[in-house]
């Protein structure tokens, strides 16, 4: 049964909400070159980004799904792999939770004139 937060109980209780993990992933996405939000705008930071990021917590492991657009001219799988790497690194570094997978769905291409 997936839970909304992950607990650590060594020296006390630490709860990490799923939304926090989504926000960290969104921040990593916003810093990855060539990654945009599905509406063609720069990937948002903060709560607005959560609709593009799904976080699952299963048995202490994290699984993330991100919906993105990729800038025209870039190699789509390369951008996606770079994003996966960055999200995994950032989430593991900031939460100490193991990231099982980062699935990336590329829903469209963004052209330079759209990207403001």
């Amino acid at each position: 049964m997936p839970r909304d937060e992950q607990e650590f109980e060594e020296a006390g209780r630490i709860n990490i909400a799923r939304d926090v993990i989504s926000t960290i992933a969104a921040l990593a996405a916003s810093e990855t070159p060539g990654v945009f939000a599905p509406d063609g705008l720069p990937f948002p930071r903060g709560p607005a980004a959560r609709r593009h990021v799904d976080t699952e917590l299963l048995g202490g492991r994290v699984r993330l799904s991100l919906r993105i657009a990729v800038e025209y001219g870039r190699v789509v799988p390369r951008v996606a792999q770079e994003l996966q790497e960055k999200v995994k690194t950032e989430v593991e570094r900031m939460t100490a939770l193991p990231v099982e997978a980062v699935d990336v769905e590329v829903v469209r291409i963004v052209f330079p004139k759209e990207a403001r």
Binding site: R63, L64, V70, Y72, R74, V75, V76, P77, A80, Q81, Q84, E85, K88, A101, V102, D103, V104, E105, V106, V107, R108, I109, F111
Partner: protein
């Protein structure tokens, strides 16, 4: 596909008219009043067949639509990379628009689990020769789409359905 839509529309329309006649009572008093019972059963059989065929076609069309919108999957070490057919179509359209400039064209994409089938419909640009143009577009799309998406392009079919000449 458009032929199937027409057949579906026609079948549903016929079934709806016949049902409407039955419901309004016109069929029973004017038409069916003197018709033997066997014929009435046949007519109701036609209603039923019309609705069944129409709804089956509808389901088949929706299944095809869902299949066309299903993202293509590229498994990787960190998770899946899913690329929607819309993304690939956008990419192919941009490449063709740069190549064909003002020549009108449209693209139809069929995706299978292991790759893509692209069909390009276009009007032959002025002074262009079909074999050279088709070969060039096939090479361009196969190379660029494969390189930029990591997906295998199995086939690029070029359909020339007219010429675009200035008069």
């Amino acid at each position: 596909m458009s032929f199937l839509l027409w057949v579906e529309a026609l079948l549903l329309f016929l079934a709806a008219v016949l049902t409407g006649l039955g419901a309004s009572g016109v069929a029973s008093t004017v038409v069916l009043g003197s018709v033997p019972e066997l014929w009435i059963r046949v007519i109701f059989g036609i209603f039923s067949a019309g609705f069944l065929a129409g709804s089956s076609l509808c389901l088949a069309l929706w299944a095809g639509r869902i299949e066309r919108h299903r993202p293509l999957r590229l498994p990787g070490p960190r998770g899946l990379v899913l690329i929607t057919p819309q993304t690939v179509t956008q990419l192919a359209q941009t490449l063709l628009a740069q190549e064909l400039e003002e020549t009108p064209f449209r693209i139809r994409l069929r995706s299978r689990r292991d790759g893509l089938f692209i069909r390009v419909f276009l009007r032959l640009p002025e002074e262009a020769r079909i074999p050279e143009l088709a070969e060039h577009l096939q090479e361009l799309l196969t190379a660029e789409v494969s390189q930029r998406t990591g997906l295998k392009v199995h086939e690029v079919e070029v359909v020339v359905h007219g010429t675009s000449r200035r008069v």
